[in-house]
Symmetry: C2
Subunit: 624 residues, 2 copies
């Protein structure tokens, strides 16, 4: 009987018992031991994805081999004779054919890690692409004519398909000469390094978010999955334009524009990397992998690929796939051969950052609920999960929430007003409790919502002059109505130097444009799926201001939908969480790539009545 | 019903008809169309090896889809809707379930090529790793938000798993900007280049043999499989020692020894490459791949990997696997990213050259016969095929056949005596019919065999002085017996300048050492398999002098076994034929890698009675 691809006519059910835990599960004949163990909540590590090629998902049969299918030829090839005689099997190949008792060696267990995103987050097995394995390599005899690399594979129980770049191959003889106790650093099936002694406890990864405005680095201990340090700073590219359009234009207008922007991004990324390395007190050489998220334009600029096609109809990326390239080619100051993994793009304006946010919110999975996620920035990306479908779109929200084009707007930096309550008086809370300097995104939302609620602004977004209020407005509000550069304005506060901090009519219009764009995106995406807001079970908000946004005010403005019974979750920087998930788990990486390939993309600007819908969405619900 | 991994309970037999050829074959239900077509002697191209991932093995169903299994999801993903509605299927996935009629589009047919090796050679489908595909890429619309690379894949029907290195990705936008008609150069799933217009007719490969003594380059037109030019020269490494041991020692004794030897090899290889490029009148940039053979030491030196471990017990290579590295890292003057494929080694002294010779002699296949191959050089590698077993060994033949340590020895260059007949007189034939300058390998064999036959030398290899012949030897032979540097010698001829060309007693001992080593290898390998010379159905001789060796003389000396009924075939440079086969056919490449992994290696020096066997093998059969 053939044992590869063994197929069961057998409909019986058998018991799989895990020792020493002594937990059992009844499973149908024919499922793999790895599947059975996952039912017992033990994730067996499988760098090859359970394809029977890496030889890492070993388990031990504790009461003989009667309850499992016969040895496959792959197992014979991948396991040593000692392992075979000790009852070791590959759990992705051995299938249940009777009652069986197994144990899982510690090395085969993938530890689980909860990665938080807005309080909830998701559980992932810690299974990074980079793995360190200790190898003791005794001298060879004449009876073992294997090449040194093959001997290393056998002694270290390394993957049978292990390979090494020429540079690494050239370094091997001297390293093997130095001693027989060493640590192999593997990236997938590639030998990244071979280090004297046991260095398996020291293994770091770097999750990078190259935002249009801000860059963030998180250093992660890949042996535990825990964050070790974080740093952020303004993207130095902002010196060349605040939005992606300006930057794309620079690459078209100036022959060195692409290189200028690439270097600016790298300066920022290398700076935050330096900071996390310093803060954690580690050696830069102990970082073995980096993952990078950002929107499609940022990813093109980072990789040095012209983003010109993203700047004109039909707005397409040059590369949508995930890209892995060595650090020295990319320009990151890490070990030259460190793999840098750039998450895939879905479409020109739905980039790697959205894939990251989708992973952060588990939107890649169908959990039976209807869920939506909006990543709000200058560009707002929206994703909808409904059953097997995942539909995404993007809409140009504009830079209002980042302070641009707002009279007193500013980034969410110390001194920015981030909360406003108007109740008999105007109370402003600033970031870092510092004297007010301007208005950031969440403050803008609060200001607009409060002025709308109080009738300072009507449902069309018009700020009424004092003369039109005819007594309907309390004095303390009327007193704040003023003029600002030929525009009507409402004074919120004033700075240390006495400069008034105002919200102008034009600011309100900017908010309306942003809100109109976002709501049009949300509504058209729902329509595309044949749904309405009432069908939503959950709505996640990702993006810079996510954590600080006043939910009631955002709903009042119509920026966020009013969910009948569901939940609005603020998850903060979902893109960065995604970068972290793909750094921690190869499975998440595959999932992200699948998302990029399979998501349906809705081009809302192409919707026939888009313009009309957009104008309508700029208006507000009548206030009661 | 599940269609992936569709399994047949059905025992029926169906007819598959190929049109327009109108040939048919009856096949069991369940085999793939590709398998069925191979029975009709049509090889359908499948760069992915028939794994259903490349989408290239298209065939067309000519009378509907009733006779084949339903569409798989992979086919849905890889074929366009136009293809699907035209009845196009992937022949590695569609399985026979009834009578069916198919046609094979020209693009899907792998052309066959006979690669000669000693008159016979083997047929291989021309299926190089490098493939050029013409792509016409119309502009995209808003409804096709695919990244440019994805659009390229779809328009060119390129592999779904196509990827490009960062350097290539950076070049893509400008190339696509320049026009919509282009040619994609693919190496496996990797995009090597994208060229304006249709360049598909221009595609060359380079097969390189880095011998210890000689380097050879053959330029091959990958669109037809034909040789275009060939060049050879002495390996410049010979300036640093004539055998591998001397070169290994140089790398140990001098800190720059490895680099010196690497550069010397590269100078020679780059020189012969220049010559073939000039002779063929092509552009160097049109070479898209190189394959390289040589012994394990040469391959290590070529790659810049220390061969030190090959120079001491237990004589092991650092790397045994096939290595693919870009030309610029390797140091070959080709396009910087040209993949250079180095064939795998079996053991320290059974290298890539032997793998090549095994492919050249089809020894990788079990054809039911018992076959042996010996590649005779300074080191002699021997391989034995018997049923499912392939056993290899190596034995130090010494440099006698290359002229070293022979009084009047020389390489097989113009003026070398390559044939000798003694019959009433001594007649010598030289290479190029030039005046005699010395003795090359085949001349040495002839000289020794004739002297043995005539009794000038006895069965122990002792050259008898004139005084011991007491009348048994004709006068013309006795007259030629003389002394040469305190040694007995036999004068064969004389040079233009009157210098005698002799064979000395010591030369004869050198031949005996070489012959003893080779025969011990042959005999012990046969013994290991439980066979004798009488079981051999075929014996192939590869190596520099193969084509010119007098078979009867080699058998007389016992250098080659006396086959009862079988055939001795001289195949010349089998290693180079192997390099060519792997350049022409990805299948041959996989086969070579399998050979390297699966061949059993016999370390004859480790055989207990090796020394005694070796001494015995130095003697000759009594001459009649």
């Amino acid at each position: 009987m053939e044992t590869e691809g063994y197929r069961f006519m057998d409909q019986s059910v058998h018991k799989v018992t895990l020792v020493p835990e002594n937990r059992s599960v009844e499973v149908p004949a024919g499922i793999t031991l790895r599947e059975a163990l996952s039912l017992l909540e033990v994730i067996v590590t499988a760098p090859c994805g359970g394809e029977g090629t890496c030889g890492k998902c070993t388990v031990k049969l504790e009461n003989g081999s009667a309850g499992v299918t016969p040895l496959t030829s792959s197992e014979r090839a991948l396991l040593t004779s000692e392992q075979l005689s000790a009852g070791i099997r590959l759990s992705c190949l051995a299938r249940v054919s009777g009652d069986t008792v197994v144990s899982v060696p510690p090395a085969s267990r993938a530890s689980e890690m909860r990665v938080l995103a807005g309080g909830k987050g998701r559980n992932v097995p810690v299974q990074p692409a980079v793995v360190k394995t200790v190898v003791v390599m005794p001298p060879q005899t004449l009876d073992e004519p294997y090449a040194r690399l093959e001997h290393l594979r056998r002694c270290g129980a390394l993957r049978a398909d292990l390979r090494a770049d020429l540079e690494m191959l050239r370094r091997i003889p001297a390293i093997l000469e130095a001693g027989d106790h060493m640590t192999a650093v593997m990236h997938g099936n590639r030998l990244l390094d071979l280090q004297p002694g046991d260095t398996s406890g020291v293994c770091f990864g770097l999750a990078l978010d190259l935002g249009t405005t801000t860059v963030v680095a998180t250093l992660i201990d890949l042996t535990t999955g825990r964050d070790v340090a974080r740093a952020s700073m303004t993207n130095r590219q902002t010196a060349y334009g605040h939005d992606v359009v300006g930057r794309i234009n620079l690459t078209i207008e100036k022959s060195d524009g692409l290189e200028t922007l690439r270097r600016a991004a790298l300066e920022s990324l290398n700076r935050v990397t330096e900071q996390v390395v310093d803060r954690a007190g580690i050696r830069r050489e102990d970082i073995y992998e980096a993952t990078v998220v950002g929107n499609a334009t940022m990813m093109h600029l980072f990789l040095g690929i012209s983003p010109a096609s993203l700047g004109k109809l039909p707005y397409i990326a040059t590369v949508g796939d995930a890209v892995t390239a060595p650090a020295d080619e990319v320009g990151l100051n890490l070990r030259p051969d460190t793999p840098v993994y750039v998450l895939p793009n879905i479409a020109g304006f739905v980039g790697a950052d959205t894939v990251g946010a989708i992973l952060a919110t588990s939107l890649d999975e169908d959990d039976g609920r209807v869920r939506m996620m909006a990543d709000i920035g200058t560009n707002c990306e929206i994703a909808l999960r409904m059953g097997k479908r995942l539909i995404v779109t993007s809409t140009p929200a504009g830079p209002a929430f980042e302070g641009a084009r707002i009279a007193c707007g500013m980034y969410a930096a110390p001194g920015a007003i981030e909360e406003i309550k108007i109740n008999g008086d105007v109370r402003c809370k600033t970031i870092g409790r510092e004297p007010p300097r301007g208005l950031c995104g969440s403050g803008l939302v609060d200001a607009c919502a409060e002025l709308l609620r109080l009738g300072v602004v009507d449902w069309t977004g018009r700020m009424l002059p004092v003369t039109e209020h005819d007594g309907g407005l309390p004095r303390f509000l009327l007193d704040r109505l003023t003029a600002h550069e030929n525009d009507l304005a409402f004074t919120l506060s004033q700075s240390d130097s006495g400069r008034p901090i105002v919200l102008t009519q034009r600011d309100f219009r900017e908010l309306q444009l942003a809100k109109g764009a976002i709501r049009t995106g949300i509504d058209l995406l729902l329509e595309k799926a044949g749904l309405t807001v009432d069908d939503l079970d959950e709505f996640c908000v990702a993006g810079g201001f996510g954590n600080y946004l006043n939910e009631a005010n955002a709903v009042r403005l119509g920026l966020l939908p009013r969910l009948p019974s569901g939940e609005i979750r603020f998850i903060g920087n979902g893109a960065l969480v995604g970068a972290k998930l793909t750094l921690l788990s190869s499975v998440m990486r595959q999932t992200g790539e699948q998302v990029a390939r399979q998501a349906e993309h809705l081009q809302i600007a192409g919707t026939p009545d888009f313009q009309m819908r957009f104008s309508e969405a700029m208006l507000f619900e009548p206030q009661t």
